[in-house]
């Protein structure tokens, strides 16, 4: 069933979030084809696609060029329009399960295509990032009750299912994403969250906090010591070493992104551990020629628009590499 599928490309892009779309557009403008843009989700847009446009919702995707703040989905519409001006093939529901450094091949699995091995002259990782798990943070231990969530799960519940999972949240983490989680919960009907982080003051900057003050006013708790999550069935408290017990009926372990660099690492491309940061020249190319990374997979926190433009910029390096 797979023989009819094209299996050789100039460029294969893993991930169709802002960065992957940015690079696809940049490559199309540079006259490179054929390209394959692959995503395991059922739609393009990556993380922003999870932020549904809602009447009583909160826009968080900053588009500084136009001095606007948008809902994620509005931003994805913009990306879709840009992409439609090119004739890039997008393959959705397709998970890239491995890449081969020596042969420059990727293996993907999808319900429509089955299992495919595709070859390319250049391969770009635009796989985005996920949040650090409890244990990865190094200061959270305790039990493993129900209702300890990451922000993505919160989005899937609040926006995807119109379902509020907790009334009295504790948020562990204090960056921009943590604040957006606090705001989303508040708007959906939860109480203002208690926000706790192992930091002297919140990690998000004052301008961001000012923006979120409009929607929510979480109680900030600074904490130098480790904490533990308690509750034998559902989450009950977050306990600190100095004897405080923050009562809650759910916890969101929020923010602190780690790059989705495991495909690259498994293939033997250079990735530094334990922080999973791809080792890149000029924030975009691996030492192995023809392998690139763009968007949040390069490490750190970057907004959607930044990732899109990063993709556009890295496209130039890929074009240079291919036409050299």
């Amino acid at each position: 069933m797979n023989s009819s599928v094209e299996n050789k490309f100039k460029v294969v892009i893993v991930g169709a979030g802002p960065a992957g779309i940015g690079i696809a557009i940049g490559l199309a403008k540079g006259g490179i084809q054929p390209i394959a843009l692959i995503d395991r989700a059922d739609r393009i847009g990556g993380l922003p696609a999870k932020y549904v446009v809602k009447k009583k919702g909160i826009p968080t995707f900053m588009v500084w060029t136009r001095a606007r703040v948008l809902f994620g989905q509005q931003y994805v519409e913009f990306l879709q329009q840009e992409l439609d001006r090119t004739d890039t093939r997008v393959h959705l529901n397709a998970q890239v399960i491995s890449v081969n450094k020596a042969s420059k091949e990727i293996t993907l699995v999808s319900p429509d295509l089955g299992r495919q091995v595709w070859k390319a002259d250049s391969i770009v990782f635009a796989c985005g990032a996920r949040e650090r798990t409890i244990t990865e943070r190094g200061w959270i231990s305790g039990k493993r009750p129900a209702r300890v969530y990451h922000t993505m799960q919160l989005l899937d519940l609040l926006d995807g299912n119109a379902c509020l999972p907790m009334k009295h949240p504790v948020i562990l983490g204090s960056d921009l994403i943590a604040y957006s989680a606090a705001a989303k919960l508040r708007i959906a009907g939860a109480e203002d969250a208690t926000m706790l982080d192992k930091a002297p003051s919140p990690k998000s900057n004052p301008a961001e906090r000012l923006y979120f003050r409009w929607w929510c006013q979480p109680t900030w708790t600074s904490n130098k010591q480790p904490v533990s999550i308690q509750g034998s069935d559902g989450t009950k408290t977050v306990e600190t070493k100095d004897g405080r017990a923050l009562e809650c009926d759910g916890v969101v372990v929020s923010g602190e992104l780690l790059p989705n660099s495991e495909l690259a690492a498994a293939a033997g491309l250079e990735v530094s551990m334990p922080n999973r940061l791809p080792i890149l020249k000029g924030k975009s190319s691996f030492s192995e020629p023809g392998w690139f990374a763009t968007g949040n997979v390069i490490g750190g926190f970057h907004g959607a628009q930044w990732c899109y433009f990063h993709g556009r910029k890295v496209a130039k390096s890929v074009v240079d590499y291919l036409t050299r």
Partner: protein, 525 residues
């Protein structure tokens, strides 16, 4: 004692869950019309840990009517889900003990048993590492102990050989003792497989069923009271309730024994570092502790631990991880294998050993009453010994309770080929399977590459999971490096849709552990 042998040969048992309407799939919810109070059961097993499940499996090879009673919402929800997942040879057991005998005979049969049960198992071998001259001298004594335990296929290695076999151990290593048959296994699948086979042979299984009193203990037909409203009548009771065996034994005033939990915490490393080690790496045990090991897992991770913390009597739900505990593990295992220090840890967990002050493998037939069996103190080796222990118990009941058992020649002792878990034999590698069912190509768990087809298969398996944890233990979805960031909610939705229950009723491990807080429901009303 003659059993009624009421099993209609070839007929499968039933599985039911005790809970409120709407809390689980209506088709498997226990209703009062379900047949509990007709003919008494021959045997009631209290506790569906790996020992209870193995007992059900072994008993199902005979003509007998058995019920397995478990308070949790799945098998193996107690100590059996949080251990080192090693099939021991028993090389370091106390020679001549019952434990040593059962572990060593089980370990020889495990390769065959794992094939029958379709449980992934790999013989990696273990190396006991010596890092000082003093430790090096102890290797000979450990080797002698191993030989005394009947484990003769071992060898003492010099430092060069150890470094060649395990290039990432601390270069200060002085030597080691290699025990080739130590193996790693999927610990969850063991309980599940035993229970599934028993079920297909006619064993009934009741979940969400907490035994809270036992009456008519001296009659030939005894009554087990469950959840304060159900009565199960039976001839023989086997108490294999692990940490809770004392509480259950109190219900029939069994012989005195004392249990305290001994906690073992673990750290789990990302698959990216699996290639760092080949063998299970063990330190030289001290008088106080066996020490902390570094072991590959069958799933492709590395695990380190466990701690050994004696907790007060009764702290049976203290399966917390603690900062101190995790740091203690890191300190000693990083010393053994320094490269681990740079590797990403993805999760931590803890299990509670059932530590019996009167000694391990504390077993009483006719415990103060004819037909009541107490099995406790299965502390550190129950996963390995499980089915041999079950056979030992059955033999004991034959001898000491005059139990007369007849083989059921129609009984199955294995699971079907299709029972191999998808993570072990990925459906996406099988072109025909993938072509025939596109769901095997739709990934839900991105870290472990688990498809919606595999989730569906698990949900349709004989011991159909009703909770997200039960689904996770069968498929590995949610067990990868992102710990549910991506697949958490899709898994909740999958259970909701399959069980036909509202989102608010989906639980992590049974009623009370709802994914949607009951406080949201209450205040919305």
């Amino acid at each position: 004692m003659e059993l009624k042998n009421t099993t209609k040969s070839g007929q499968a048992g039933w599985v039911r869950y005790c809970c409120k309407e709407g809390d689980c799939n209506e088709g498997v919810r226990f209703k009062n019309t379900d047949p509990l109070n007709e003919e008494p059961y021959d045997i009631a097993i209290i506790g569906a840990g790996v020992v209870g499940c193995a007992l059900a499996y072994e008993l199902s090879q005979y003509q007998s009517r058995v019920i397995l009673i478990e308070k949790a919402f799945d098998v193996g929800e107690g100590t059996s889900k949080a251990n080192s997942a090693i099939i021991h040879t028993g090389f370091d057991a106390a020679a001549g003990s019952l434990e040593s005998e059962l572990v060593s005979s089980a370990s020889r049969e495990w390769p065959d048993m794992a094939q029958k049960l379709k449980v992934p198992m790999v013989q990696t071998g273990a190396i006991v590492l010596a890092f000082s001259e003093d430790q090096q001298k102890q290797l000979a004594a450990i080797q002698q102990k191993s030989v005394d335990n009947g484990v003769t296929d071992n060898e003492i290695l010099d430092a060069t050989t150890v470094r060649k076999l395990e290039p990432n151990v601390n270069p200060n290593v002085r030597g080691g003792l290699r025990v080739p048959r130590e193996s790693i296994i999927d610990p969850f699948a063991v309980s599940i497989a035993f229970a599934e086979v028993a079920l297909s042979n006619g064993t009934d299984i009741l979940f969400g069923a907490e035994v809270n009193s036992i009456t008519e203990t001296d009659q030939s037909v005894k009554t087990v009271h469950v959840n304060k409203d159900l009565k199960i009548r039976c001839n023989i009771i086997i108490n294999v309730a692990g940490l809770w065996s004392r509480a259950v034994a109190d219900q029939y005033k069994g012989e005195a024994f004392h249990i305290n939990p001994r906690r073992g915490q673990f750290l789990l490393y990302d698959k990216t570092c699996r290639k760092l080690i080949e063998h299970i790496l063990l330190p030289i045990p001290t008088k106080k502790t066996k020490g902390k090991l570094i072991a590959p897992t069958i799933f492709g991770n590395i695990l380190t631990g466990p701690t050994a913390e004696d907790l007060p009597y009764g702290s049976n739900d203290a399966n917390d991880t603690t900062q101190e505990g995790l740091e203690e593990i890191e300190a000693s295992t990083h010393q053994m294998c320094p490269s681990l220090a740079d590797q990403p840890v993805i999760a931590a967990y803890a299990g509670l050993r059932c530590n019996c002050q009167e000694g391990s493998y504390f077993i009483r037939f006719n415990d103060m009453h004819p037909g009541i069996v107490t099995v406790t103190g299965i502390r550190s080796t129950g996963l390995t010994s499980s089915f041999m222990l079950a056979r030992y118990i059955i033999d004991g009941m034959k001898e000491q309770s005059g139990l007369n058992l007849i083989r059921n020649t129609k009984a199955k002792n294995s699971r079907d080929e299709s029972s191999w878990p998808g993570w072990w034999k990925p459906p996406y590698e099988n072109e025909d399977k993938l072509a025939s069912c596109p769901d095997y190509g739709k990934m839900i768990c991105y870290c472990e590459n688990i498809s919606s087809g595999e989730l569906r298969d698990a949900l349709c398996s004989p011991l159909s999971p009703q909770t997200t944890d039960a689904l996770k233990r069968r498929t590995r979805a949610h067990m990868g490096r992102c710990q549910g960031f991506n697949c958490g909610v899709p898994i909740i939705e999958t259970v909701r849709d399959h069980s036909e229950i509202p989102m608010a009723s989906v639980t992590k491990r049974g009623p009370g552990s709802n994914w949607i807080s009951p406080q949201v429901q209450k205040e919305a009303r």
